[in-house]
């Protein structure tokens, strides 16, 4: 681990604004601290409603923190004022959300090229990269389909490579494979590990599936029930490259799984 973390969260707290005439809403996250170093694959597990999405929204600067600080490359994110936010930190943090959030009026290829287009980086090289990614995740032949003509798994893949195509140094993922069947999920996990091995980005991957957290991550954080705090931290020492299908039978797996499960409540 390097001395200077790429992303640092210190004493982070979040509560949503109270509606008129009501008591202030409870804390979703309170006094949360952790850090992520460059090139690390961090997985975060926690029960539903433990503020995982809220945490990622704050890291991506879609949502503003109520207290504490988030530092990216030593620069602090604004606290309290939503107008001062810089969503995606000028394309340095990619975010694969829980829903695919594809533009329904754009075809697969147009959706994948969208970030390049709005960033003014659409050229032959980036187009070729997009085509390569589309083939890698098995969307070849579906370039001109609209999102509603794709299956759920295909939409997930499209939204995944829409973020990979512009190569942000950090990628946040919010249960990206949560709603898929086991087969498709394993496929996408393998795709993701393969793509990660090509580029070694920093990834923060949120899931409620403990096996997925172990299979993918270098390190796993366990969040407690709201207000979210760190309930445990586990280094995943299973060597890479990993076999997502065979990981369940790895000798280190069962012990890790039990220790994490005991902390997820």
């Amino acid at each position: 681990m390097t001395a200077q973390p790429l992303l640092e969260v210190r004493g982070l707290s979040k509560r949503f604004a109270a509606r008129a005439g009501r008591d202030p809403s409870p804390w979703v996250i309170q006094n949360l601290s952790f850090s992520v170093s460059e090139g690390e694959f961090l997985t975060i597990v926690g029960p539903s409603g433990s503020g995982k999405t809220t945490l990622l929204n704050m890291l991506a600067q879609i949502d503003v923190a109520s207290g504490g600080e988030v530092r990216f490359q030593s620069r602090a994110a604004p606290v309290g004022d939503p107008k001062a936010l810089n969503p995606g930190l000028s394309c340095q943090i990619g975010y694969v959300t829980q829903e695919d959030n594809l533009l329904p009026w754009r075809t697969t290829i147009e959706n994948v090229l969208f970030p390049l287009r709005v960033q003014g980086r659409l050229n032959d090289a980036t187009r070729a990269r997009a085509e390569m990614l589309i083939r890698t995740v098995g969307l070849a032949g579906f370039q001109d389909h609209y999102p509603h003509e794709l299956s759920g798994g295909m939409r997930k893949r499209a939204s995944l490579i829409r973020t990979l195509v512009y190569d942000p140094p950090v990628i946040l993922m919010d249960e990206p494979f949560g709603a898929l069947d086991a087969q498709t999920r394993t496929h996408l996990q393998e795709d993701l590990l393969r793509l990660w091995n090509l580029g070694r980005k920093t990834i923060i991957f949120v899931t409620h599936d403990i096996a997925e957290a172990i299979a993918l991550g270098d390190r796993t954080l366990v969040l407690s029930r709201a207000p979210a705090q760190i309930a445990g931290e586990h280094a995943i020492t299973i060597p890479r490259p990993r076999d997502v299908r065979g990981i369940l039978t790895h000798p280190a797996f069962a012990g890790l799984y039990e220790r994490i499960r005991a902390q997820v409540q």
Binding site: N101, W105, R106, Q119, Y146, Y166
Partner: protein, 272 residues
């Protein structure tokens, strides 16, 4: 129709296969029925109260050949089109401007909504007083009527845009202008087309009513002039042409709507 294994097989049902033809035949029969009823009614009422459909058709042909009808239609169409474009532009621009400032929106919204209640046609005398006897009062009337319909639809459309899509676009590096153009504009297109389906016929009606009162050309003037001369056939001819004009405009609009919204899932693809 139920097959031997008890399932319902829609594709094989002869009743469904003939349905499109039956609908077309029914429509033609209804049209003939209405024309016959018109003819009988006109004969019973007398030519001062209801014009004979055959005479109306003859009049339309004659006025078309003389060029008078084409010119009047052009005048009304031009007036409706200019008024429509102005009202539509303002109706789109204002909600996009208000989007930039929620506080201004909250301050202005009740006044705009209250002004919806003003009967626009009642403003014509004022417009004549302010802008004189030319195209300006008519343009104001058409523009205002179109503006309110478009404004309310676009305003509601902007409010209903999926925040998650907007946040996604921001994270991907889109500027506010790009978000307006790509995410908001495309999201509110269905609202916009629904508004156009109301606004376009209204624009033509407003232009015709404006022409009743101001000027000496256009379909509205043609109808009013015929009424002054107790020429009921001329009044009916004007109404028929105005109706046809609105139908043609609606047809063009539907075609554009189908083209622009081609990506939308149809019933075949509907996910439940």
């Amino acid at each position: 129709m139920t097959t031997s294994d008890g399932t319902i097989d829609l594709a094989e049902s002869p009743r469904l296969r003939w349905r499109p033809y039956a609908v077309t035949a029914g429509r033609i029969a209804l049209a003939i029925l209405l024309l016959v009823a018109w003819k009988l009614g006109a004969d019973a009422a007398g030519e001062l109260y209801a014009a004979d459909p055959i005479e109306v058709a003859q009049r339309i042909v004659a006025d078309t050949l003389s060029g008078e009808l084409i010119w009047n239609t052009y005048v009304t169409l031009r007036l409706s089109a200019i008024g429509f474009v102005l009202g539509c532009a303002a109706g789109i621009a204002l909600p996009f401007l208000l989007r930039r400032s929620p506080r201004l929106t909250d301050a202005v919204e009740p006044y705009i909504m209250a002004s919806v209640g003003i009967p626009k046609y009642a403003l014509i005398p004022l417009f004549i007083l302010w802008f004189g006897i030319n195209d300006a009062p008519k343009l104001w009337l058409v523009g205002l009527l179109v503006f309110y319909v478009v404004f309310i639809a676009v305003f509601a459309g902007i409010r209903s845009v999926d925040r998650r899509l907007m946040n996604m676009a921001r994270v991907l590096g889109a500027s506010e202008a790009m978000i307006s153009r790509e995410v908001i504009w495309n999201s509110l297109l269905p609202f916009f087309f629904a508004a156009l389906k109301i606004a376009l016929p209204r624009a033509v009606s407003a232009a015709i009513i404006g022409e009743f009162l101001v000027g000496n050309e256009g379909l509205g003037f043609m109808i009013e002039n015929a009424r002054n001369n107790a020429d009921t056939t001329g009044v009916f001819a004007g109404i028929v042409v105005a109706t046809a004009l609105v139908l043609v405009i609606n047809g063009v609009l539907e075609a554009i709507d189908r083209r622009v919204n081609a990506w939308r899932p149809t019933d075949r693809h509907m996910e439940l």
